[in-house]
Amino acid sequence: MISYELSEEQKIVRSTMSEFANTVLRPETRRLDDNSKIDDGVLSALWATEIIQSQADADGEGRSPVTNAIILEELAAADASLALAVASSMGFVQAIADQGSAKQRELLKAFAGPKFQAAAIAMMEPSFSFDVSKISAKASKAGDEYVLSGKKAYVPLASSCSHFLVIAESDGAADAFIVPRDAAGVKVEAPKGTLGLRALELAEVSFDGVKVPASMRLGEGNGADIQKIVDSARVGLASIMAGLSRGVLEYVVPYTKERIVHGTPLAQKQKVAFDIADMKIDIDAMRWMNWKAAWELESKLPATRTAQLAYTYASQQTMQIADNGLQAFGGHGFVKAHPIEMWYRNARSLSVLEGVAGV
């Protein structure tokens, strides 16, 4: 029975997150980008929202991909980097909660506590030919262990992570391995300077003959469904892009109404007004696509197609929205006095980071 009705709880979560994002996160966003770092205070504030903790309960009843899509949109409307900081840990926790063995799920207890704790899925690789369907990292079975080798890249907050969920090819198929950051052979590089999402400290992590006990192969015996992880990541990223796009629209509207050009407000120029209408249309459409894909994940239905379509649409339209938003500001869009230039960078970055999030 088709419905777009949020539950009472979801309505509360949405307004709480919106309030939090606007008052606590938004004022920090330029500073974090300038410093290329999320400082402890902001991380603690994020953690105190208990978004991650709520994913980590053992019976899985507390988790709702739809609710998570809503949360990520709200956070990203204020700051996409911080939303992705959450989505990254969320992806890790969710993958294990959904697909982990009982023993593996025990690890999640560490995420239920009051102290900030990061972890990430290590999917992408430092190659211009990288594609989620072509993983180069290898895990070969040797007795009761897997030996893991390869290089992963663009891992959010890598140096703060306690664990990585490393996607590697094993026996001809992609598989996932839970690897503590301090395992022998794991090396976290210094963060790379990146176009956007600078505060996330995206870094390379190399795995050099890392020994992983078979019990830490996600799902143990039968291995994991990596496509589910990718699907969830795509929906997570798409939700963040919807939020970023909304942030742009909400910033463009008052500016273009106030700015007078040739005697009329910029917003009364058809070009600008049509761009604004298209932003609104596309942002809403992104949201419904995200909800639909998230609902399929939540209902344990195959979600690969809808997740791909949601991600594709969000990637394409978010770039366009950030681009048109910048254009509406003219020269003021190019300078750092306004956040638009940062959103332009973040928009392009989000749409190529397949695999680092989750709902």
Partner: protein
Amino acid sequence: MVDFSLTEGDQRFLDLIQEEYELGRKFAREVDREAEHKPPVVKTLHPALEGKPDPYELLHESDEGTSGHIMVDALMHMVSAKDLDMRPEGLGFGSMVLEDFGTDEQKAKFGHLRLAIGLTEPGAGSDPGNMASTWRYDAATDEYVLNGEKVFISAINKLDGAVTLLRGVPDEQGRRVFSSFIITKDMKGFHEMQQFQKLGMHQFDIAGFTMDDIRVPAINRLEADFGRTMSRFNHNRPLVAAGALGLCRSMLDFTKAKLAEGGIEVDYARGVKARSAAEDKIIRMEALWEAAWGTVMEVKWKQTQLGTTSLGYRTEASMAKAIGGKAARQITQGCLELLGPEGLSEDYLAEKWFRDARIADIYEGAGEIQRILVARDVLGYKKGELN
């Protein structure tokens, strides 16, 4: 709870309409070729449907066990292309205006009529300010006298008459008041015009009529001014989008099937760098289709919550129409590009769908008008501040 599942009831209706559309598809080419040059073929039930119930009528009778008739109606439009009008026209747009805004007396008198809506004029396009048709009150006979010309009217050929929106001759203050009247084809002074020859939608009548001193009594005047008459658009616009999406669904399915025969299959799992150009294009078109689907269903859900005559979902209705119109253009253009030369052939319906779809971003308010309506809402502008 956010939910995207179809009930068994929903699915039954979708299957019914899909079956009906597929029956029609066999006759689609013939009708496309000839409908413009012959009088409309299907004024009565098409023989292929003999004995089959009208799914829309069934739905109207009971929506029990479904997501609700407003939602299912939209879903049915999106199932696949409707290539043929196989049933006598149901109640027209004008009949719905009567239903929404007529008095009980008017409904009793005119309720049996199937009425089109007469809005657009040859020189006015979507601009009501340019309307030249007039009504005036003749106190001598207590009648209203109607004059002018209306064009681009859906199915006027198959209906009994129309609700037509006219401007009064200037009153004492020089104002020209909008008012709607019920007219029927048998009235003196009513002249039906010939079908338009057009790019596509040959199966679909679009014509016009002139009013030459038509005289009607007061009971034919509806308490539906400009705003009220137009409000019915909020129900219809998403359905126009939905119909376009149904057509695009057929186009996409056909294209995918034909490319698959040549070894190009769509894999939704892989990233962009592992795709062929054709695969990437199909994924982007399907993404747009899904975007429009979500938008149509959201406004239909909202309409369900608020009631059809509410103005509370009109921006969403414009959004659905705008994205549906855009999808219709981009998807039909894109699929024909992928199909290559063979797609041009009348051996298949693809080229027909390309022609049929193009009207979707024009009628019931072109994409430009929808964007103005959306932008006004987002920006908090009134009419006059943004045109």
